[in-house]
């Protein structure tokens, strides 16, 4: 069963990933883009929401699963729903 789950997880990745770079933030498997302006971006993930605070925030890549945010990120808030 473990192998089956691993294969399913590999083929159909449901887990979200957040990767922080120097002046950017990469989010994989996000659910919804909730709010967006140049100081705050709110995104919902599987079971929680995160708010990214900063300056000059801009989305440079936006697909069904991926989001890449550029800007000076000062704070990331995680909200359990």
């Amino acid at each position: 069963m473990n192998i089956r789950n691993n294969i399913i997880n590999y083929l159909y990745d449901k887990d979200y990933i957040i990767t922080m770079y120097e002046n950017s933030l990469y989010i994989f498997n996000y659910k919804r883009l909730f709010d967006f302006n140049d100081t705050k971006i709110t995104v919902t993930l599987n079971d929680r929401g995160i708010s990214i605070h900063g300056k000059n925030l801009s989305i440079v890549k936006m697909t069904k699963d991926e989001l890449l945010i550029n800007g000076t990120i000062s704070k990331i808030e995680v909200n359990d729903e």
Binding site: L33, F36, S58, I59, V60, K61, M62, T63, K64
Partner: protein, 372 residues
Amino acid sequence: MNRVKIKLSIINPIKELYKLQVNVYNIEYHKDFTVITIDEDDLEKIEKLNFEILSFRGLKFILKKLKNNIHFLISIALSILIMYLLSNVCFSVNVIHSKKEIRTLIEDELYDHGIKPFSFKKRFKEIGIIKETIKNEYPNDIEWLEIIDDGMKYTVRVEERIITKEKKSSDFCNVISTKDATILGITSSHGQTLLTPGSIVKKGDTLISGEIKFNEEAKARTCAEGVVYGNTWYKISVSIPLNYTKKEYTNKKKNNLAFELGTKYNRIFKVHFDEYDVDKVKIFGIGNFALYKESIKEYKSIKSKYSKEEALEEAKKRARENLLTNIGDKATILDEKVLQTDDYNSIISVEIFYSVKEIISKVVEAELPTLE
């Protein structure tokens, strides 16, 4: 999947694009517009937005680029093809040997094995096999064969196998004199020596006889062998003009290129020297066409005049050269004497006497005496 780069007049189009569920792969924010990269299929979704297509990405982009640069790409491909052909095609086969029969034999054999002008070059291993095959086919004719890949041509060096035939020994022969002479020395290995050093002989006299006599009776017959040195005499006449022209090189040199097409020989650059010598080296040749590199040296013709002594020395030098050319290098000049000198109309005529030591013997088959 083809992608397309578009320009939107909206400053921040994220909300609209998110609502329309458009995948955006790159966003560039500008003061009055935004440039985004999206899938070509998503263009329908943003029909309502005011946009301008800037360029295509992916396969369509590559195809468009290829189409725009088709002439350049074809010329590149052709250049590569020509380079490949030039470096892999043999334009001539040059067999180096003094004998025409050997050259023809090798050329024919190489032709049969596919080494011929305007054909593809062979691999190193194949050339080795061809060499061995030809050598094995003609074991009595070819001693050594080398096929050198010399750029656009093959240079073939061949050494003929010389099988020394056993000397056919005749049963009865004499050694005779080839010239009138005074005998200086005799070395005999077979036969009976008839003369001693100091004897005077005429052309055709027997020097070493193949008939061995004892008490005036022939006891045995053999093929006489030996070398006889004789003192011979020559008179050489030489005429030399006292006025002559000599070349004096000016140290001015020039390199030039020339080409030969059939029987016509043309220089690429004009030579401005009045008098010059040319050394040319062939650098390239295909069929009747050949390209040469010329090294041109300028000289000035200077008129000069021999003094009597100089003219005499020059005449002696030329007479000696003529004599040795005629009688061979093995001969030695024993004595030299100027017999007569005439100076008339700026020409000096000299008659010189030479006393020479040379081989005067020759083996000839002798006829057996007929029985009475």
